[in-house]
Symmetry: C2
Subunit: 252 residues, 2 copies
Amino acid sequence: MSYDPSAFPPFAVTVDLVVLTVRRHALCALAVRRGEPPFQGRWALPGGFVRADEDLAQAAARELAEETGLRVHDPAVPVQDNGAHLEQLATYGDPKRDPRMRVVSVAHLALAPDLPAPRAGGDASNARWASVEELLQQGGYGRDGEAVAPLAFDHAQILSDGVERARSKIEYSSLATAFCPPEFTVGELRRVYEAVWGVALDPRNFHRKVTGTPGFLVPTGGTTTRQGGRPAQLFRAGGATLLNPPMLRPEV
Amino acid sequence: MSYDPSAFPPFAVTVDLVVLTVRRHALCALAVRRGEPPFQGRWALPGGFVRADEDLAQAAARELAEETGLRVHDPAVPVQDNGAHLEQLATYGDPKRDPRMRVVSVAHLALAPDLPAPRAGGDASNARWASVEELLQQGGYGRDGEAVAPLAFDHAQILSDGVERARSKIEYSSLATAFCPPEFTVGELRRVYEAVWGVALDPRNFHRKVTGTPGFLVPTGGTTTRQGGRPAQLFRAGGATLLNPPMLRPEV
DNA sequence: GATCATAGTCGTCTGCCTGACGATAAACAC
DNA sequence: GTGTTTATCGTCAGGCAGACGACTATGATC
C-alpha cells in the first residue's frame, strides 16, 4: 500500500441498496430517513461506506443484513430459503452528487420476500417500506395525503434504475420467485408479476406458461387456501434461472 | 470539500474499457501493452484514473478518445455517424485486484465499427485489436503460434462480462448497427451477428427478420457490391432502439 | 344446506413468428 | 456462356401467446 497518493484523486466509495419487495399487491422499496445533513430528515436508500478490506458485494450484503436482517444466498443455489437475491446494479459518480466530497456509489439491487417491519439500527421510525410509486412521485403527496419530499441525493434515479432492472429481469429469468416465500402458489407468483409490472395478467395463460416451463416450478405436493377460493398447489422454485422463451410483458 | 478524510477509507477510482469491434469476421477487443509494473509487458484493457472533476461517463469517453480517436455519440440519437456506443458495464472492486492499492474500476463497454489501426499515445506497438477468443484463452497460444499471457489484473473477467453483455444486448436492441459503418447491407449486419455470437445464421430468415422489424433499418436508396455477388441494398440504422420481438440467438 | 363469490385449473381456437429450405436475381471471374 | 457468389422473395409446418369458455373446490352468506 506504499504508493504516492498524490498520483490520483482520492474518492469515497459507498454502496447503496435498492431493496424491493411486494406488499399488499404493490412494489415497495426500503427507505431510511437521514439523521444528519445533507438532506437531513429526507428519505434515502440505505447504504454506507465500503470498508478498506471489503469487496463490493460483501459490503452490499453487510448493509442489507444491517438494515433488514436478511442473509444473501449463494447465487448458484436456486431461490429457496428466506435469503434475498442481490446483484450489482450500476455505479453513480457525478462529481456533485454529494455536496460534501467526491463519492462514488456502487448501487446494488436486492429482491426479498415480504418481510416483517424493517429495522434501521433498531430505530423502526427511521426505516420503512414505501411503495415505489410513492417514492418516485417527486414532491407529490403520499398514500395518506402526507407531503412527500423527493429522495435524497440521486437516489430517485438509482431507485428508478433498480425498478427498471427488476421489471426487465423477471421477464427472462426466474427471479420473480425471489419475491415469494419458500413455498408459493401460481397465483401468488402471478400477483408478483402484476405488482412489479403494474399490469393485470390472464390467470389461465399465466398458469399454462409457468407450469409449462421446465425447471421453473417444482410442486411440493402440498396445497393451500390462504388466498381463499379453491385450494392451490404449492410450488418451490426449480433449478432453472433463465426462462426460454421469456415471460412477455404485455404491450403498454 | 472540507470533510474529515479519516472518516472513510480512500479509494482510487478508474475506468476500464472493453472496446469491441468486428474485423475479418471475428469479434475483436482493444488491448494495450502495459509499460510498467505490475503486469509489465502484459496485455490489458485500456483505462485510467477518473479525474477529480469528471463524471464516470466523461472519463470513459475521454479514455476512449485517447485510445482510439473515437467520439461517443449521444445515446438519444440513433447510431449513424462513426461515433461509438458507450455504456457502463459493471464495477470491480476486489480489495486485492490491484496489488499496489485499493482500486475500484468502473468498466465501460464500447462498440465501434471497424477502425484503422489503434494508437496508444502515438505508440502503435503498444495497442492492438486482438480477437476476443485469443485474449480469453488464458495462457494458450495465439493465432500466429505466439504464446499468450493472460490479461493483466481481473481484465479477463471484465472482458468476458463485456462480451456477454454485447452478445445478449444485440438480441433485443438495435445495437449491432454500432459495429457497422454509417451505411451497410443486410449481409454486413448479418456478419456482425455471426461474429459476435459465433454462429452461422440463415441469410433468408435474417433478411426477413431485420427488414420486417419497423424502424430497425432505413433504406438509403443506394446499393453496393463491395461484398461481391449481386448488388445489395444499403441501409442506415433506423430510430428503433429496442427490437420487439427480439432476434433469437440459436440454441447451443 | 343452498347459493354466491372467489380463486384455481384444463382446454380450444386463432394468429403470428420462426426455422427449414426451394427458387430466382444480379453481379464478377474465367 | 458457365460457374461462383451474394442477395432477395416465397412457401410450409410447428410452436407459442392472447382471448376466452368451462369446470372445480373452497369459504362466506343467507
